[in-house]
Each structure stands twice: as C-alpha cells, then as structure tokens.
Subunit: 461 residues, 2 copies
C-alpha cells in the first residue's frame, strides 16, 4: 500500500481528527480563550508525535505558543519547512452562523467550523500527508519541519523574533504554506506574489476642545475638513497615488506576466456579483488582476471625527482621525512608504491645524521566481492532487511571514492553497470542502515526493 | 415704593423661587424626564398666575407643553411678547460638575445649576419684573404675553406649528427674548442678527458590504475616499465655500456695520485663550466678528466610515457618512441652500459610487433694524439695568424662532441677553451671575416702561 492508498483508506479517521482539532476554540484575539489556545498547541504537538515526527516542541512566546516539529531522517535530501497557524478568528456575529462554530458539521460535502479552512484544515492536510507516507513507507523522501504559530490572526507579533532567534532550528531548503484559496477544484492556484503593507493613522488637531459652530464657525480651520483635504490630496484624479516617491520601487509590469494574467480573466460579471457594484474602476492601463496583484494602493480604512450620533449637532470637532493603509508591491519598503506618507501629510497640513502620522503595522511584499524548480514541483503535485495544472497568480493580500522566511533563509516559499473563494474566512459559516482536504493530502504527498527527487541546492534555486 | 424698589426688597425671595424652578429636572431630550418636564410647565403656570397674569394656559403639543400667559389691561398700549424656554440640556458628563446640577448652589456670587442661565434664570427675570411692576403699581404699562416652550434644546419641533395655529393668541407689537449673553456686566449686548442653519447628512455608498483591502484594493472606488474628495471640494483653497449660488443672497457688509464692529474687538489673545489655538484663520477681508456675524459657513460636523476601533483593520468600507451644516446670513434660504449643496454633491460624486444628501434641520437667518424705536427702548433699558449702553452685535448662532416671529407678526425681536460668555451653557457647572438676575429684572422693568410710552405702531416700527 503506497502513501496515497494509505491516505485514501484513512479519510474518515483523518476527518474525525480534524473535527477534534476544530472543536478547540483557539481564538487568539480573546484572552479568555488563552487556555484553550494553549491546549490547541499541545493537541497539535501530540498529533505530530503520534504520526512519527522525531522532535516535537511547544515553544512559549510572549503571546501564544509556537509548535515546532521535525523529522530529519532523509540524509542528503532537501528540508521542507511547513508553515501554518492554529489560531482562528473570533466568531461574532454568532447569530449569523447556521451551525455552532466550534461543533464541526458536515453539510453538502463541506465541513463547517471556525478555522476549517483558515488554517487548521489546510495545515492538517500536510500533517496527514506526512503520516500517510510514514505509515506506508516507514520514512519520508525529504526532511520535514513544521512551524505552526498561534498569532496569525493578531499580526504575528512574536513570530519574526522567534524565527530570528531560531534560524538553525528552522533552516530549510524550501518552504510550503497552505493558507490561501484556489479558483476552483479544477483550477488550483500557486500564489507567486503577495503585497506588503504599511498601516498608519493620521490625526489632525485643532482647538483644545469641540467648539460650537455658531459661536466659532468661520474663524477656525475645521480639523475634519483639513483631514478630508489631506486624504483627498493623497490621490490624483486618475486614481493614482499622489505621494512623491511612492512608485519609485514599483517595477513595470512584465509582458510575460501580463500575458499570463490575461489567461485568467476576472470578469465584470464575476466582480459585480461579488461586490454588488455596477461599474468598473481602477488604475488605468491595468486589468483587475494586475490592479490587485502588481500595483500598490493607498486606502482610507476608516475615519472618525466630530458628532456621529443620530440627528443634528452643530459641533466643530477638536480632532479627526483617519486610518490609512498601503498595499505594497515589488521592492517597496513599508518603513520608507511610512516616511513618504508622513512627509506628504505634513506638507498637506494647513498651518492652522496640526497633524501626526502614526505607524501601526508593516509587512514586506514578497514574490517567488516562477522559474524555480520548487514551483515546478508544486505544479506537478497539484496535478496529482487536483487533476489539473495550477495557474500562477499574484495575490493582493499580505502574508508578512513569507518575506521573513525568504529574507532569512533565501529559499522559495510555495503558496499552495487548498481552500475556495467562498470559504467565508473571518466570517460566519466558515467551511472547508472535505474533498479538498483529501486532495490536499494527496497534493502534499506528491510535493514531498517531487522535492525528494532534488538535491537541496536544486530545491533552493 | 416703585417697581425697582419692590424688586430690590424682594431679591432674596425671587432667588429662592428661581432655585425652586432650577430644582425641576426638565431635560427635554430624555423621555424619562417627561413627567418632571411637564411639572416644570405647571410650576411656571402657577407662578405666572400668582404674580397676576390674567390668563394662563399650559398647551399640550406632540411633545413637551407650551406655557402661555397674558395680561391685557393696558388698553391702547403696545403688546410685548416674551419668549423663553423652560427645558434644559442633559447634564452628562455628571462627574465634571463640582456641585449637583439640580441642587442650585451659590458660590462667589454665582448660582450654579443646569438651566441657571439657559434659560430659566433669564426668562424668570422677566416674570419677576412683571411681578414687581404689578405689585408696585397695580398695573403694567404694556400688555404682556409669555410664550415659554419646553423643546428649545431639542430643535423646537412643535413651536412653529403652535405659533402658526395661534397667531391671534400670540399677536404682539414687539418681542423680547433673553436667551443669550452679553460681553461683560458693563458691556451689555443687543444681538441684531442671527445666522440661519441648514443641517444635512451626506452618505456615499460603494460595494454591498465591506471588502478586504487585500482582495479588492485597487479595483473599487473607496466610498470614504470619495466622501473626503466631496467634502474637500466644498471649499476653495482660500476658505470660501465652493457651492455655485451659495453666496447669491448674502449681502455685502455695510460700511457702517463694519465701523461699529471695529469698536468691539475680539482680540487674538482672547480668541487663542478661548480655543487653545495659536494662529488666526478665516475668510480673508473680514474681521473675526464679521466672519461670525455676517458671513455664512459650511462645516463638516462629523464623519464616520469604515473601521474606527483600535489598531489596524484592512477594510474597504461599503459606505461613509458626513454631517454637514451651513450657517446662513441675510436673505439665504435654508431650503435653497440644501438644494444647492445637493446639486454640488451630485456633481462631485464619482461615477463609481452613489451618494445622497439628506436634510436634517433648517432655520432662517434673522436680523433686526437697528434704527427701530424698540431697539432704542432696549438700549435705554440696559442702561437702567446694567449702567451702560449696549453694543450691537451680530451673533453666529441660530435661534430659529426669531425668524418665525418676525415673519409671522412683522415685528422687531429684541435679543437682550443677561448671561455671560463663561456661563458654561450645555456644559458642566452651568451658572448664572446672581447680580445679573437682579439687573435683568431692572432692565425688563425699564424696557416695559420705555415701550409703554410708545404707540403700538411705534413699537412695531
């Protein structure tokens, strides 16, 4: 019995185990769940020991623990680092769930539970792939390390310091992450680029307190008006970003990339259905996939100031706050972008008010060379697991750990998602297609086999 | 004993009565105070009966009752309508009060209580003036009507319909309102102009729900961005309002008025101390008093949209809301201004989003002819009460009933305030200077005497 056959005959048992994992309420954002979150790390460690990983440790951090596991018996073969996370998003609004978020429920071939796709189900497919190979063959074709954190949903505060402090422990030749989605079962996706992030707050201050608009209206520069003027002036009328230097490290789109993206249309019809919008918009000269994948943004995520209750109140606010974030591409540096925005906001701020720009969060953009051997291995693995060659897509979101791993170890990071676009991540009724869980196990088995046929140097290149 | 002497010998008793009135918690905005608010109307009606008003009624409305009282024994003399309100603002934040807001407390010559100045203390001075004259002389030199409402702090919803339905009941030759403040005890103020108001909400809509900025950033026009652009474009860089037609009914400033206002400086020093600001701003070519008094404004009173909690959340908001209000002057019409702003916002709204402008509140601007006989009478009365001639000021706030009374009865409305700028209206530690209460009684006695020497026609002119 080979590994695929072993996996196939153990589908029910694997699914039962996944359900047990999903019952654990590891909501990292809520401190009242801290004990359950720690229990989840221990549960995973136990499972990793049971499947035959030779070294398993749960590392304490300043926040939630990190699970590490290793199997290092494939002398001379490449080492694969599998990253995932066991923490999940909060479940509110609970009333919008059709089933209990922590009582995994099967319906129409889907497993409904918080964390089913993000990310417990996806990382667990890798664990069960390892188990299947070890049970069928007694050994793995590659060395394997697991790095499973518990703070992905709360900005991974302790992950980068852990990686930095444990480079020898974590060193590998290729990294695999399944924490994204594909277009359809017959359309798997390798994500080859992720946007970075600079998240800021702009605060504008005027008088020492709110003023009556009758008594002072006309004599003071309204901070909310100033904030609107600043935010408005951060874009040009054509929708491009009006911050000097902002585009300096953005590379022009590659013609080959452009041609490839043309093959994977994102139609108006699809876009309108998803968003409820009735018209297209975006930076001119770029398709929607290019706008998302290879172009940076500056977005206002929130604004608050003055009176926001019901009815009229004639107040001149003393201050106003905007949350602004940039999605970054190519060689854009989040800290440099912060400095550029800060400078621009200072230049735009009218003399009659004061402003400050605070940095809240950063993440570096990342991209993987599509010509690498590892990408080819992942493509072949998808073909084995999903019966179709993958398409290559740049992704608009940010997974900061990708850049950290790339920069620390100089290795390819394979982003091979197993979810679907409608898995309701971060929302009520999160689900994971059970068929994808099984296909994911097969894909992972195939990936380890493929990489096992390479030298470590080839895997790294 | 004349009326002044009678008042003087009854100061303590009048103050005790005012304290009783101030103990009644007539917060019109809070329905749990409805019974107490109704009780306040009844208390006033009783007091008006006791002082000798011949007809006193408490009229029910759709909201809080209106107190009406009349004395009509001065055949052939003018009729004076005294407007005031017995409702008060809420008291939160309660922890910032040094004394209990509904237990009137005397400190340093001030009476501290919610409503002390706004407006119970001021309207009660008129009642006690009438009492003093009636007790001293057995009759009044003028016919008197009181119109005291209970909804001034909640936009006077039922006042205009009441006035419209009761023109014969309320008809008068001159109206007096004490619901404002003077500059100092030796610097009384007659307010000769009030700004009007158009209060609106602008709402901009984009996608059917909030979108993830990674998944959609770059492909959708952010409604909050659009709102900022719209708000920014409602002003020109020089601070004037960029709404076509907005200034059409604003009259150029009168040179005589300009000269008069120059005599009452509002210094940078005072302005900076009041606001905590360190620089001047405002429409060029106008002094601060002119900016407040004779120029219109368009202010953003509040904005809310997207994520406004702590920390970063990468959301593209589905909608955004701004509260916008205009202070109006001269012949500007609040409804016309609403139409102009609506039209301008529609023109500014990018095609990729939708917007709507909703009208929340309106009030007409008002002004009194400074050459009228009634103004001269009020000036003389102030001189009797406060020992100084008043200055004439246009006021930046709005008292919509002034325009209603002017337009309904075509009579002068005398705005003779008794409060001080630091009376903490609408704020913790509201107070009323006890000396001003007494001076207010004398001023009112003098005013009725002055008007009593005119024909009704002269009082109206």
């Amino acid at each position: 019995m080979n590994a695929y056959e072993y996996a196939s005959t153990h589908h029910d048992a694997y699914l039962d185990e996944l359900k047990s994992l999903l019952r654990l309420q590891s909501i990292s954002a809520l401190s009242e769940h801290n004990a359950e979150t720690a229990k989840t790390a221990d549960w995973l460690a136990d499972n990793l020991r049971q499947i035959g990983m030779t070294r398993v440790e749960v590392y304490k951090t300043g926040g939630h623990p990190i699970v590490f596991a290793e199997w290092s018996g494939a002398t001379g073969a490449p080492t694969v680092l599998i990253y995932g996370h066991y923490d999940v998003q909060p479940v509110d609004p609970l009333e919008l769930w059709d089933t209990s978020p922590f009582e995994p429920t099967i319906k129409d071939g889907n497993l409904f539970a918080r964390g089913a796709a993000d990310d417990k189900g996806q990382v667990f497919a890798h664990i069960k792939a390892i188990e299947s190979i070890l049970k069928a063959d007694g050994k793995l074709p590659v060395n394997v390390k697991f790095l499973i954190e518990g703070e992905e949903e709360i900005a991974s505060e302790h992950l980068d310091p852990f990686i930095e402090a444990n480079t020898d422990l974590l060193r590998a030749d290729v990294c695999v992450i399944s924490d994204s989605h594909i277009l359809a079962t017959d359309r798997p996706v390798i994500v080859y680029a992720l946007r970075g992030l600079t998240y800021m707050e702009i605060e504008v201050h005027g008088a020492k307190g709110d003023l009556h608009s009758g008594a002072y209206g006309g004599t003071v520069y309204n901070p909310l008006q100033a904030l609107c003027e600043i935010v408005a002036a951060l874009h040009k009328p054509d929708g491009t970003i009006n911050v000097p230097g902002f585009y300096d490290r953005v590379r022009p789109i590659d013609q080959k990339e452009r041609e490839a993206l043309k093959q994977i249309p994102w139609t108006d019809e699809e876009f309108f259905a998803e968003t409820g919008l009735h018209s297209s918009w975006g930076e001119q000269g770029y398709s929607r996939r290019e706008q998302i994948g290879v172009r940076p943004t500056l977005e206002v995520n929130g604004i608050v100031g003055g009176f926001i209750g019901e009815g009229p109140k004639t107040v001149l606010p003393a201050k106003a706050l905007a949350k602004i974030s940039c999605r970054l591409v190519a060689a854009q540096d989040p800290l440099e972008i912060y400095e550029l925005v800060k400078k621009r906001v200072a230049a735009l701020t009218p003399a009659a008010v004061t402003s400050e720009v605070r940095l809240l969060n950063t993440g570096y953009p990342a991209s993987v060379d599509l010509n690498s051997r590892a990408i080819e291995a992942a493509s072949a693995a998808y073909e084995r697991g999903f019966g179709a060659r993958p398409v290559y897509l740049p992704e608009g979101g940010s997974i900061p750990v990708v850049a950290t791993l790339q920069n620390t170890f100089k290795i390819p990071v394979l982003l091979i998602g197993l979810g679907l676009p409608d898995d309701n991540l971060h929302a009520p009724n999160e689900k994971f297609k059970i068929d994808h869980f099984y296909r994911g196990i097969d894909t992972a088995i195939a990936l380890f086999e493929q990489i096992g046929q390479m030298t470590p140097e080839a895997a790294r290149s």
